[in-house]
Amino acid sequence: MPAPDAMKADPVILALEGRVTAYLVGPIWAEALETLSRYADRPIVIDASRLESIDDTGIALLFDLKSRPRSVGAEVEIRGLAPSLAALIPDYAPDDVAEPARKWPPLGIIERAGRAASLQLAAAARMLAFLGDCAAALLQAFHRRGVIRWGEVLSVAAEAGANAVPIVLLIGFLMGVIIAFEIGLVAQQFGAVIFVVDGVGVAVLRELGALMTAIVFAGRTGAAFAAQIGTQKVNEEVNAILTFGLDPVRFLVLPRLIAAVLVMPLLTVLADVVGIFGGALVLAGFNIGFVQFYNHLLGAVGIEDFLVGVVKAAVFGLTIAAIGCQRGLATGAGATSVGLSATSAVVTSIIWIVVLDGFFTVLISS
């Protein structure tokens, strides 16, 4: 414990005793600095003769006290330090371990906006270039055998498709229940409950089946694609593929794109079926029997409604997989950037799904 002893106009004695270790040094250090600044114009003697043991933090304390700039005649002197401990106090200049100067001045707001915009543009350009690469690889795959690794396609499809069945069933079912209930309550007031069947059928088949499945798919599979490929990038697996003269798009991306295009429509059909079933269950509560529901449904929706949903699903699947893979390949270095890639894959995918869905709606209805 430092015990400052003011003696006439002579040196101030600061005693360090016992153990000075990481767990104990905090208050000692604070007190020592306080003494140093209180007696800024008097010499300071640090009495280390009763110091038993120190660790790296104690060494840093002694180094700090010794090398603080002081006015002439007010130097800090360390006395009685055991030679074995003295040998540990480094003799480099304090500047060697000084805080590094900030290299760049902070950016102005216009400059920052400009940088952000140019980053976004560059990202869009990279995405386009990536889509070009994918298309080229796909074309090549049609012309030559053996380009597509079907084993990989199957395993991705199993993970992204089969394992997603429970959650798609749950969400599809609840979605059907919810919209049937909400529309049903309103329609009841007008005595038009039977038309809820039309509403549920069209909404589920054309829009919600594909949309909800796509959102689940983006969260489950898009993120997984980005994280898997991102980790491979960070581990230099992608570099290994490149230096074998192979194309990472063909190896990592194509199987995922194909699997997604195959699996998304299947999942959507499942969501459609359970969604409509959920609607039927609710409407049974509104006194519309299953047979009546079925007959009315056949009149209300056609095969084209179903096909619109399925085609959308395939396009959504392609989009999600492409974005996930692109984000994965664009991963920087380190585990943090893998997380960023996965997040950005999900967010970008969902934005694109909604935008594309808008396109589809306008396109089909005009």
Binding site: T21, P27, T57, D64, A98, E99, P100, A333, T336
Partner: protein, 267 residues
């Protein structure tokens, strides 16, 4: 502020004591019946071919994995049978580096070194920064202090990992291949640092390494593992093992000769 109990123990108890340890994964046994002590202030190296279980042994010794059988005492206290709080306290008394560096990817190098100080001490920020920079200086890494781990080379990651392991002033340091991937000069400086810390602070070191030169220079004692016999095949002073071991495998290792040599290379 509690501090690790390691130092409170009588000076005669070994810093680390491995008792009849059995190490493995699932049903696969890597090492059986391993027993050795590490005395306070001793530098012990663990040797053995790649894949024979050195890192696994170390992970069992630091309480990361539970051994299949046997016990590990840190300063006389079992880390195997310790409850969660006890175990955390024992582990905090160890300075540990991992083969890959194991820096936290979201923190800069300086913040990585400061991390244990931030978590467990009440030292002021500026002071912690000074401590961290001095530790980095010791491993010649001050220039890289504001970089992120992802921007470092393998050897740099390792050096920063060593600096972090020393931050809390642990009295027992467990280093997994600290000098693999370092250039000879940096590796030699690291050896010098290890010796200085042992000589002046009385720290204890358990080091996994393959660097013959460094083994002969720093190690007081070596323990050699073998994959086929799943046991410790040699224990002793490295230079004596090199010159007088009866075991061909040990001589092969020390003489860098894959084919059992009869003549010995003396340096």
């Amino acid at each position: 502020m509690e501090r690790p109990a390691v130092s409170a123990q009588a000076q005669t108890t070994p810093a680390v004591s491995v008792r009849d340890l059995k190490v493995g994964y699932g049903s696969r046994v890597l090492l059986e019946g391993a027993s050795f002590d590490v005395q306070r202030g001793e530098i012990l190296v663990i040797l053995g071919a790649s894949g024979c279980g050195k890192s696994s042994l170390m992970k069992n010794m630091i309480g990361l994995y539970r051994p299949m059988a046997g016990d590990v005492l840190i300063g006389g206290e079992s880390i195997v049978r310790a409850g969660p709080t006890e175990k955390a306290r024992l582990q905090r008394g160890l300075g540990i580096t991992y083969q890959s560096g194991a820096l936290f990817g979201s923190l800069t190098v300086l913040e990585n070194i400061r991390f244990p100080l931030d978590e467990f001490t009440d030292i002021g920020l500026e002071q912690k920064n000074l401590i961290a920079r001095m530790l980095l200086h010791q491993v010649e890494m001050v220039e890289a202090q504001s970089r992120m781990p992802a921007e470092l080379s393998g050897g740099m990651l390792k050096r920063a990992g060593i600096a972090r392991a020393m931050a809390l002033g642990a009295e027992i340091l467990m280093l997994d291949e600290p000098s693999a991937g370092l250039d000879p000069i940096t590796a030699a400086n690291l050896d010098r640092t290890i010796l200085a810390l042992r000589d002046n602070l009385g720290l204890t070191f358990v080091v996994v390494t393959h660097e013959l030169q460094s083994i002969l220079k720093v190690a007081d004692r070596a323990v050699m593992l073998d994959a086929t016999s799943r046991s410790i095949i040699a224990e002793g002073v490295p230079s004596e093992l090199r010159d007088h071991s009866q075991d061909a495998r040990v001589r092969q290792f020390f003489n860098r000769r894959p084919d059992a040599p009869e003549t010995e290379v003396r340096r």
